[in-house]
């Protein structure tokens, strides 16, 4: 019987041919923790009697959620991570290196056919690189740090086929928001999703990452894509030290269901507070005043996103009624955006550029809204209190829509600014 991508990867990593429903103990290729989850993982590691890592070259810790540290409590947790990395010999990415997921995508350690776990729910981002990558908690992470293994229940797979091409002014963010609106926040719980179809094939890798990143917002364990020339070009670009084996679903693989969408007339989308699946066409909200606009995060803080925003802004200045925060997702992206003059343009236009990392996404620092304020952001979550103030409202949209809102002070169709 044919297998889906996740069934194949879990078969390869556990050494027995498995299908949805089996329980496996599988070998892990790479392990990542960030500063919100690693301190607890380090505690659990010691609790379990751990003294050394199963393989330090397969472990990385990233300080990105509160970077640089905004308080002494956080500073002490960061210190514990640095000490742990020094003692165990694993790689530590410190403040300014970027959001953990972007750092992993650029690390050359994660690629087709891999099994990766990260103590962060958006680890599913690497599914766009044809890896089975999934978020786990700190205790699972600790168990893997010691043993190099992890247990999984092989999930059934839902195939989502996107036909057609996205229209101009509409981006992969609009597509994934639309899909989440259709599928709902728990429509793919305990499932793997394979994203396929002409619309996905046509996207750049950066745009594909946005889609896999948000698979968790429909509850999925993984958001997988096949590997193609673009995937391999990405891997080559970040000079991998290892070889990867792409994994393709068999033609007779057994899917739990197949959902097909035609995206050729998709309009810009927005997720309204306080749920990611509360999605409406942007046009319904056009004209609504906003107080803060944010471009960044592991969803949309990549170079392509900054370029899109910059093209929308052009030589204009942002609205005097808006604060505009830009957080490049990694040091590499920051450097490249400097080189291309993108950051200069954005700063001249009125943007406040903050350290590569999570920025204001999770409410630890870098732009907590005041009571009742409305924020438009390229992030992946708009839960109540997410940005640190439970009375604020968060609207999720594409980088183009956020840039357009920064210019006008209102939710605005970015197509108005596209030449």
């Amino acid at each position: 019987m044919g297998q889906t991508i996740i069934e194949k990867i879990l078969s390869n990593k556990s050494g027995c041919k498995v299908y949805a429903g089996s329980i496996v103990v599988a070998d892990v290729d790479f392990i990542m923790g960030q500063d919100g989850t690693s301190p607890l993982a380090i505690r659990a590691f010691r609790d379990m009697g751990g003294s050394r890592l199963f393989d330090p070259s397969k472990v990385a810790l990233v300080i990105d959620h509160s970077a640089p540290s905004p308080s002494e409590g956080v500073s002490n947790l960061h210190h514990a991570m640095r000490e742990f990395a020094r003692k165990t010999g694993c790689r530590l990415y410190d403040i300014g290196d970027g959001v953990c997921h972007q750092v992993m995508l650029e690390s050359g350690r994660v690629g087709p056919g891999c099994l990766v776990i990260g103590a962060d729910s958006h680890t599913c981002t690497y599914g766009a690189l044809n890896a089975f990558a999934t978020g786990v908690g700190s205790t699972d992470l600790a168990a893997a740090l010691i043993s190099g293994k992890m247990w999984f229940k092989v999930p059934p797979t839902i195939k989502i086929v996107c036909h057609g091409r996205l229209p101009k002014g509409t981006y992969s963010k609009d597509l994934i928001l639309y899909l989440i609106g259709q599928v709902s926040a728990d429509g793919a719980t305990y499932r793997a999703v394979e994203f396929t179809g002409e619309a996905i094939d046509a996207l750049s890798m950066e745009a594909r990452f946005t889609i896999s990143n948000m698979a968790i917002e429909m509850g999925a364990k993984a958001g997988l894509m096949k590997a193609d020339e673009k995937t391999m070009a990405w891997i080559d670009r970040y000079g991998s030290c290892r070889s990867f084996e792409p994994v393709e679903a068999d033609p007779d693989a057994d899917y739990e269901c197949v959902w097909e969408y035609d995206v050729s007339s998709l309009e810009p989308q927005v997720a309204k507070p306080h749920r990611v699946d509360n999605v409406v066409p942007l046009a319904e909200l056009a004209g609504m005043p906003i107080d803060q606009a944010v471009i960044g995060t592991c969803t949309n803080g990549r170079l392509e996103d900054l370029r899109i925003a910059c093209d929308i802004i052009g030589e204009r200045h942002i609205s005097p009624d808006v604060r505009f925060i830009v957080a490049p997702a990694s040091r590499n992206i920051y450097l490249q955006a400097l080189k291309e003059g993108i950051l200069e343009k954005l700063v001249r236009a009125g943007a406040a550029v903050v350290t590569p990392g999570c920025g204001p996404c999770v409410g630890t620092h870098n732009g907590v809204p005041s009571d009742g304020e409305k924020v438009i952001s390229t992030a992946n979550r708009n839960f109540k209190g997410r940005m640190g103030n439970s009375t604020a409202e968060i609207y999720l949209a594409s980088p183009a829509a956020v840039a357009a809102a920064a210019l006008t002070g209102k939710i605005t169709d970015p197509q108005e600014f596209i030449k």
Partner: protein, 167 residues
């Protein structure tokens, strides 16, 4: 494992930011401190309403959102005996078992706020004493029962020196 307590009812899609807000979780590893803020954005007084051994009862997709283990830990340290929901988000479910917080899938429409419940995990049933009915419980996968009965994944590892399941 039998628990007696009353139900605190919540709706669908209670996410990890509601369970414990990101603004607290990064500050400390002191779970008793975090526990005081459990469910704060949904009910600022919630912590003070808990009698040890009570249950959180919710709709579908409980625990969606981040992978923060602080979420089940804050609930556990608030001395909630178990969480009952129609369904759970995947990572939360794993984390709860790994940290030794019992989670039970059942039809929570049959439970109202403040109902008195008896939850028996080993026998696999829930009695709603207020309504005089018994509820069906969806059984835990064997691997998870094993981890839970060992007291969480850390003690499972200490006890067996690694993963130890007969499949």
């Amino acid at each position: 494992m039998q628990f007696n307590g009353k139900a605190h009812k919540f709706g669908d899609d209670v996410n990890t930011d509601y369970i414990i807000s990101g603004k607290y979780k990064f500050k400390t590893l002191n779970m008793d401190e975090l526990a005081k803020h459990v469910m704060e954005d949904l009910d600022p007084e919630f912590y003070n309403k808990i009698t040890p051994g009570d249950f959180i009862v919710a709709g579908k997709n409980f625990g969606c959102g981040s992978s923060r283990e602080q979420a089940p830990l804050a609930i556990k340290h608030a001395r909630i005996a178990a969480v009952l929901a129609k369904s759970f988000a995947r990572i939360f479910y794993r984390n709860a078992i790994n940290t030794g917080l019992p989670v039970v899938e059942c039809d929570t429409d049959l439970i109202d706020h403040q109902d008195k419940l008896v939850v028996d995990l080993a026998a696999g049933f829930i009695t709603n004493k207020t309504k005089g009915i018994q509820l069906q419980v969806k059984p835990l996968p064997k691997v998870m029962l094993k981890i839970l009965s060992d007291g969480g994944l850390a003690s499972h590892f200490r006890k067996h020196g690694g993963f130890s399941f007969d499949k």
